[in-house]
Symmetry: C2
Subunit: 143 residues, 2 copies
DNA sequence: TATTGTTATACTCTATAACTATA
DNA sequence: TATAGTTATAGAGTATAACAATA
């Protein structure tokens, strides 16, 4: 048995492997002209659909003034649009523009390209392991 | 077949799962009083052993003045120590103190604890998938 | 002359506190 | 009175430019 058998060893192995790949994937970024909070905010809107500034701030674990600033920069670049809230006059609803969607797609494509090249070099068995692991990890994070 | 079969779909599935878990793991941090560059610098010293400020800046992909500042804050907190370079009078050699090592150990322990709890809830088959996937990912990142 | 490291200065992201508008 | 959002101001972290010390 060369592989870790106890849960604590498995935990270290999974954490190390995941963090290393995540670091590598983050490094393969497309549009360096967008800052980290900007990209993160766009990604959250893409994942959850239109949200109010307050909801966005909560998702990004950032205080409302910080989100005000990020949204102002994104609006200035035409990447998000604001609409009045249907029932509450204090709130706005922020949504992605089509050009923001294009940037997100391109960003993912670049990263997937790097990963896809490496996945293609693996054996079919290894790819199968990763395919099943991805499903397990999704459940694990969701729990 | 409910699972992705083409490499591009596998790529998206792996990337998404890995990035989500990485985000969750990063969130489980121990000492919030240490900033990200501070922790990153300590981790690099832990991984590579004593380094000069210039080498540290290169590893962290940061300019020398930024590393000067980070090292000053770490030195002030007693987490790194400087020694003169054996042959080059311009350079210093920076190394971890024992209290820095203790922080790093505690940091990892906390994150592994969270992950280990979730791993324990999985079926033995799922854990086996993750164990094998971790090995595959390590090879993939190294390639 | 080239390189290591620091200091000076400016820009970005973040936060808390104070303010306005709406519930 | 409480909440959403913004503005004012300050504190980190980063960068480039300029300087000191050493190779």
């Amino acid at each position: 048995m060369t592989s870790p058998t106890r849960t604590s060893e498995l935990s270290s192995a999974v954490r190390t492997a995941v963090m290393r790949l995540a670091r590598r994937l983050r490094y393969e970024r497309s549009d360096a002209s967008l800052s980290i909070p900007q990209v993160a905010t766009l990604a959250t809107l893409d994942r959850h659909g239109p949200l109010t500034p307050r909801a966005l701030a909560d998702h990004e674990k950032v205080q409302p003034p910080s989100m005000t600033r990020t949204l102002a920069s994104l609006e200035e670049r035409g990447l998000v649009a604001r609409a009045p809230h249907p029932t509450d006059g204090r709130q706005h609803v922020v949504s992605l523009t089509s050009s923001a969607r294009a940037i997100l797609v391109e960003d993912r494509r670049l990263r997937d390209e790097w990963l896809a090249r490496r996945l293609a070099e693996l054996s079919p068995e290894d790819r199968d392991v990763l395919r099943r692991a991805a499903a397990v990890l999704e459940r694990l994070v969701a729990s």
